[in-house]
Symmetry: C2
Subunit: 316 residues, 2 copies
């Protein structure tokens, strides 16, 4: 469930564009006005506004925002305003660049989006960067991490709910064997995690838990400092319980000395329209503090206001 709130009666894209243009004009920028419009429009509405704005003022809205805003607030508004597939393509590309590389972000995008949404990300990536995300991920990684990440990004998983219980049992056994042998980069282990549908994988991992006494992620915690192992755990978490994965990203971002604004902005802007309500519930359950209070305590100014608007602060 989303936390985005859209007013019952939404102004036309032309009216919204005009108001945004007004917010940019004159001496100061009217940040409150920008938030009051953009943070309360869904993806389709934002796309219409961007189209109308460009037709009316001859400039991409993103460019105008880029000129007027700065720092964390700017990044939050820009990411939020982008079309979701374009935004993911942008984040994935950033995650494969040398200075901003992040295997976490790659896994997050590859494993928490639906197959079709991931396909749209690939199309957006082609259009914007003139190459494919699998190409960049493969080029910027190596060894075991490449072996895991490239198929995760490439797969177009089946999305149906059908489950083959025989297969779940036999593959749970394979996974348990490989994990017991510490063969964490085994071909079959990677094949199962990177190609099976989420429903099938869930059945397999439930069977693993029932049959062998531990959740697989517990068995994969033999060396907490091993990057490959933590990426493997993140993969499984993203595929089977994304809200718990995102709760943890938010928790670490907020609890960190100095706040990790990059992660905070990414999770809020990419999930506000999808499952932020579930993530908030998980956050409260795990931290005994409501997410909006935690965000308010750790951020300030327009950036804080933007994030709070997106996570539905003040809603019933």
């Amino acid at each position: 469930m989303a936390t985005l709130t859209v007013p019952a009666s939404v102004p036309s894209p032309a009216e919204d564009s005009e108001q945004l243009r007004k917010a940019f004009e004159g001496w100061g920028t009217n940040e409150a006005l920008i938030i009051s419009i953009l943070a309360h429009r869904n993806a389709a509405q934002r796309t219409s506004i961007r189209k109308t704005y460009e037709q009316t003022y001859g400039e991409d809205l993103l460019k105008s925002l880029d000129k007027e805003l700065s720092n964390d607030f700017e990044r939050a508004v820009l990411l939020w305003t982008m079309d979701p597939a374009e935004r993911d393509a942008f984040l994935a590309n950033e995650a494969t660049k040398r200075l901003t590389s992040s295997n976490w972000v790659v896994i997050e995008i590859a494993c928490t989006r639906s197959s079709y949404d991931l396909f749209l990300v690939k199309q957006a990536y082609h259009a914007r960067f003139k190459k494919s995300p699998e190409e960049d991920v493969a080029y910027h990684t190596s060894g075991d991490i490449r072996k895991l990440l490239v198929p995760l990004v490439s797969s177009f998983r089946y999305e149906g709910t059908e489950v083959n219980m025989m297969l779940a049992k036999s593959e749970a056994k394979i996974l348990h064997e490989k994990v017991s042998e510490k063969a964490y980069t085994d071909d079959d282990l990677i094949r199962i995690l990177t190609t099976r549908s989420k429903a099938q994988l869930n059945a397999t991992l439930n069977h693993y838990n029932n049959e062998f006494g531990n959740a697989i992620n517990k068995d994969l915690k033999t060396d907490p400092k091993d990057e490959y192992l933590s990426l493997l755990r993140a993969t499984i978490k993203c595929l089977t319980c994304p809200e718990k994965y995102f709760e943890k990203v938010l928790r670490l971002a907020i609890n960190k000395q100095g706040t990790d604004e990059g992660a905070l902005t990414r999770v809020v802007t990419t999930r506000a329209e999808i499952d932020m309500q579930r993530i908030k519930e998980e956050y409260y359950r795990r931290n005994s503090v409501p997410l909006d209070h935690a965000i308010a305590g750790d951020t300030s100014g327009d950036y804080e206001k933007m994030l709070l608007a997106l996570v539905g602060h003040g809603n019933a």
Copy 2:
């Protein structure tokens, strides 16, 4: 260029459906009538006929054809009548089954179709088989062959024509190093072949040829009996000069003691609407016999008539 010929004035889908129904009725089946209709309609027209036929007679046209026809002729008509994405999904699935498995067919579909067409194949595969092709390919292969095939099937390659010449040079060098070391299953070699756009790969392989004196496929012919190596050569051929690849498949199918009807039917039905004209040119250049003569010499009856109609026998 296609070899399919469609009459200047095409009957309506209702008229075609009625004629087909007539061809099925009575004592014998009117094969000539079936060929005269289906072998001269393009994919969109065949889809319309199938839709209208089902609405009118309450049965999938494929099912009626299956009841009326038999053997090689049946397979040719059924494959041809299918929607191209559905047909490729069917062929790919067959190619991952134990008794009919064929790594060649997997490579052919993965490497000669456009990225978007391959995506449509994946969607058709999900719809029909309730799983993904990458899942089945990964499950039914192992070792080096899996390492090559799974990313080939999974990749959604960039399709633009932009070429990065610096990258082409550096990657040609990597390929040459790995091939010289006989490191044919090297991660980087596979990464380059499975993720780069066809345009980029072409530039890389041209540079390889210019700089190191041989086409890469010549350097990969160290052991003609090694299956992995021949799949690697097929991959490169499918990606860079599909018409030569298909010419060879046809040549081997026709020259074989007893004719390989499976391969012949597959190539004719999948390419008639795409590039069969180019394949015919290649065939004549390489064999000094026109393809339609060779097909006529090796096949007979309605099967022969169907194939000849699809390869444009008797056209100017």
